[in-house]
């Protein structure tokens, strides 16, 4: 398996999908297009956001849990609600797995702090799943985390225009309990695809990742 990982890494993108064998705790990861897994996860460095309950959301909040991160904004009628609904379903299936979802969090990172106040973010994310967190920060802080994940965003703020265009990476980033950038799920996303791969990855990583 390591050969596959290294080879795929050398080819530029590591695509590993998960096939899981229940008995014998044997799991195999095979190349696929849904999840890109990094064989040597990169530890993230400091950033500081505020969550929808006005608490500091910084690097320490990514430790001790697997975190699914998604960049977006609430004035987004198509891709953001679609992704959050998908993640809510993924969360539901992870919660039903043997290992449960106690060590998992889902974080919606708004790249539009002008319009997305804590109150609005809270109302928005908890509509999809009461456990979801909404966070945001200023451009410098957003940039710090985005750059480490290879995420991008762009706001075409126009004075007087209520619905200005926002561009953002639509992938879902997975950070492990040691706050390392561990994997990324590429769109189009589906709940089953995410939860099944995550469950295998978590099983494989086991105590290593925590």
């Amino acid at each position: 398996m390591m050969t596959t990982v290294v080879l795929a890494a050398m080819l530029g993108g590591v695509w590993l999908a998960a096939t899981y064998r229940e008995n014998g705790s044997q799991a195999i990861l095979l190349p696929d297009r849904v999840m890109t897994l990094f064989p040597d996860p990169k530890p993230l460095t400091a950033f500081a956001f505020t969550d929808h309950e006005n608490r500091v959301f910084d690097l320490s909040r990514l430790k001790g849990k697997w975190s699914f991160l998604f960049f977006g904004y609430t004035h987004c009628p198509d891709i953001c609600p679609t992704t959050l609904a998908t993640l809510a379903r993924a969360h539901e299936s992870i919660a039903k797995s043997t290992a449960g979802a106690k060590d998992v969090q889902f974080v919606f990172i708004s790249v539009d702090p002008n319009r997305d106040t804590a109150g609005k973010l809270g109302q928005y994310v908890t509509y999809f799943d009461t456990s979801f967190l909404g966070v945001t920060g200023d451009d410098a802080q957003l940039g710090k985390l985005a750059a480490q994940l290879g995420a991008a965003y762009q706001l075409a703020v126009t004075p007087g225009v209520e619905n200005y265009p926002v561009y953002h990476t639509a992938a879902v980033f997975l950070v492990d309990p040691r706050a390392r950038y561990h994997a990324v799920f590429a769109p189009p996303l589906d709940a089953e695809g995410i939860s099944r791969r995550f469950e295998v990855l978590r099983e494989l990583e086991g105590p290593k990742a925590t």
């Binding site: 009628p77 198509d78 679609t82 999809f128 619905n163």
Partner: protein
């Protein structure tokens, strides 16, 4: 006031005729749904399968609804590794072809609904085609 009523009745029958013409022309919609609005949000999106069963191309140019302040034809696009939306001024439907309006692609951008939309509600939107054809469509609100 009588002339106003007459004019109104005239308008209604003209609209009905146009709608009927669109049906007859063989443009139809199935699987029409609108996403429920998350609390506090003044926008959502509408999806459908738009079918052109005629032997001529049809051009979808606009959509309107009394249930929203603005309805626009939008498309989610990829740009430099990012996702965004752009206004699609018109979409040509090839003869005997279907066009999918689905999450992550074409959608009706619905701004400022006049009321909160809950799953199970119905929303009426009229689709307009070049040449004056209009097709009223009932959308089901889904979560």
């Amino acid at each position: 006031m009588r002339w106003r009523h007459a004019a109104f009745a005239g308008l209604i029958s003209a609209l009905t005729a146009i709608a009927a013409a669109a049906e007859e022309a063989g443009i139809s919609v199935r699987d029409a749904w609108v996403r429920e609005t998350p609390p506090g949000m003044a926008m959502t999106a509408g999806y459908m399968v738009l079918q052109n069963k005629t032997s001529r191309p049809q051009v979808f140019v606009a959509a309107r609804s009394s249930g929203f302040e603005t309805v626009m034809i939008h498309r989610t696009i990829a740009k430099e590794g990012m996702t965004g939306m752009e206004h699609a001024p018109q979409i040509e439907l090839l003869p005997n072809a279907s066009l999918l309006f689905a999450p992550g692609g074409y959608h009706l951008m619905l701004l400022n609904p006049k009321r909160v939309l809950r799953a199970g509600d119905r929303v009426d939107i009229t689709l307009e085609f070049r040449g004056g054809l209009a097709l009223p469509v009932a959308y089901e609100v889904r979560k």
